[in-house]
Symmetry: C2
Amino acid sequence: MPTSLTDTVDVLRRTPTVVAALLAGAPDAWTETPDTPDGWRPRDVVGHLISAEIDDWIPRAERILEDGPSKPFAPFDRHAHLTRDADVPLDRLVEHFAELRAQTLARLDELVTDEADLDRRGLHPTLGEVTLRELLATWAVHDLDHVSQIFAGMAGSYDAEVGPWKTYLGILLRRDDPAAIPG
Amino acid sequence: MPTSLTDTVDVLRRTPTVVAALLAGAPDAWTETPDTPDGWRPRDVVGHLISAEIDDWIPRAERILEDGPSKPFAPFDRHAHLTRDADVPLDRLVEHFAELRAQTLARLDELVTDEADLDRRGLHPTLGEVTLRELLATWAVHDLDHVSQIFAGMAGSYDAEVGPWKTYLGILLRRDDPAAIPG
């Protein structure tokens, strides 16, 4: 794998461990609340991460390397988890995500062997031309974005429990008003 | 420890593992950016968590149990880490936080033995009367709030790397505009 991918892969390898440290065996008291009123519970976030391991990152990397910008990426269903994972226990979702991530990183290692590959281009259906390097950086930041959503849902589970301290807790205030500033 | 504290302690025990999974040995490429322009880098967040282990949660629990609302909590310096930790490597901060958390949880187990203790009251210098139960719930949500700040700083390190995908990444957009909604 090109050395300039080392930092990106560093985060990609950590994410399943972080998710398991946070959620494996966690009591329902922390895992039943969405991050915002119309948002996602921790299990929805893990389900979405699973969908992206299956349908997004590796298929798009393959398309860049096989077709370049001549053929746009296939659309990605952000809500596939809602039906697919409805009856799957959260702990099993956490394990499944880790299994898939190990497979996708192994596949990435096969796919991208040359620094020059990272500058190869593909066609995003709405964003236009993008590079493989940008796709892989986005994979890592997408992990950070969605795992931080798990924290917001967990915090939301304790919205009432903190009593008057809520005014100092941005993670709770922002669930009601994204622009809120803690007092 | 009272059984109604089990869920709160579940998160408090997880946090050092989550922080280590995210930051131990992480390359500088991910750890040098604050969550917002005036915000905190991951090392500042861990430093603040260390300060709270030393000066906030346990001293306040002790004051509630010893003095009740007759004597307000001592003020807590939110910026103590800036001078104290300036030369401490991030990995050492991560370890120190875990050591302190193990000690504070052991002390909590000694301090709070009875369900009725959780309804005992103390006096917050600005919020007024609060219960021990609320203090301990706030300890857990404060963990979630600040660890999610680490994710925002890490994501910010890759702000440029994601190219046009930034428009879909709320964790990056909100660093510029807290009310931003991903496209």
